[in-house]
Symmetry: C2
Subunit: 147 residues, 2 copies
Amino acid sequence: MLARDLAEEYPIVSVDTDAMEAARLLGRHRLSGLVVTDSDGMPKAILPASQVLRFVIPTYVQDDPSLARVIGEAAADRIVRELRGRTVGDLLPEKPSVLPVLKGEDTTLELAALMAQLHCPLVAVVDEGRLLGVVTAAHLLEHALRE
Amino acid sequence: MLARDLAEEYPIVSVDTDAMEAARLLGRHRLSGLVVTDSDGMPKAILPASQVLRFVIPTYVQDDPSLARVIGEAAADRIVRELRGRTVGDLLPEKPSVLPVLKGEDTTLELAALMAQLHCPLVAVVDEGRLLGVVTAAHLLEHALRE
């Protein structure tokens, strides 16, 4: 069993994808993050769902979330307003979460070790310059403990 | 729309839950983390799927994941062997990821602000000493952008 055998399709966006569309993907698939590719289609970063919220919530409210109550605005209204016209590239922080990448021939123990080292719930698997798919920590556990 | 209106059921384990069962839950529901309650049923911490892998992978391999290839053991075998007989409490690190908690009457903007502040994909919602459920960042985005 190698990394390529566990790699699965996973919702992917590029830095040029519309921010609303990316947020909808996160919501629809109930994901804690999306894989972001560069314009050449190679995996570049993770866009965590919490990062989308960091983009839409003003810094002074993030510093003191109790101020959110005073603002009296619904989260939904702010999310829609702030994401309109933006791209995924706009949402990524200056130093985005690194997406770990392995090759198809790497072993499942290498996958597990990399996720453990980086506290990261997913690894992209690439073969010959092509993104084969993604392995999540949950999928690795499911495979290990399948009944 | 308040926190209690968005709170949903979410797989929950206690510190005494069998580690294998917790890992199976993560796998079956493809979750990046579980909510862990104390023995009194109140939310205590998050058990990230990557933390389960940190528990089963030796530290020297986490420090240099390329050593994983030399070991020549399948991740599945190690996961099963290391989790057997353990509890969720055993898997949690000394300083576990804090699970943010809000009250049912808190606003959705407070939810969003807390997730943004803590880079955290989920918040537990508690009312009168009872866990109502969990709101994930993905669910908040889904609610905001429902078509």
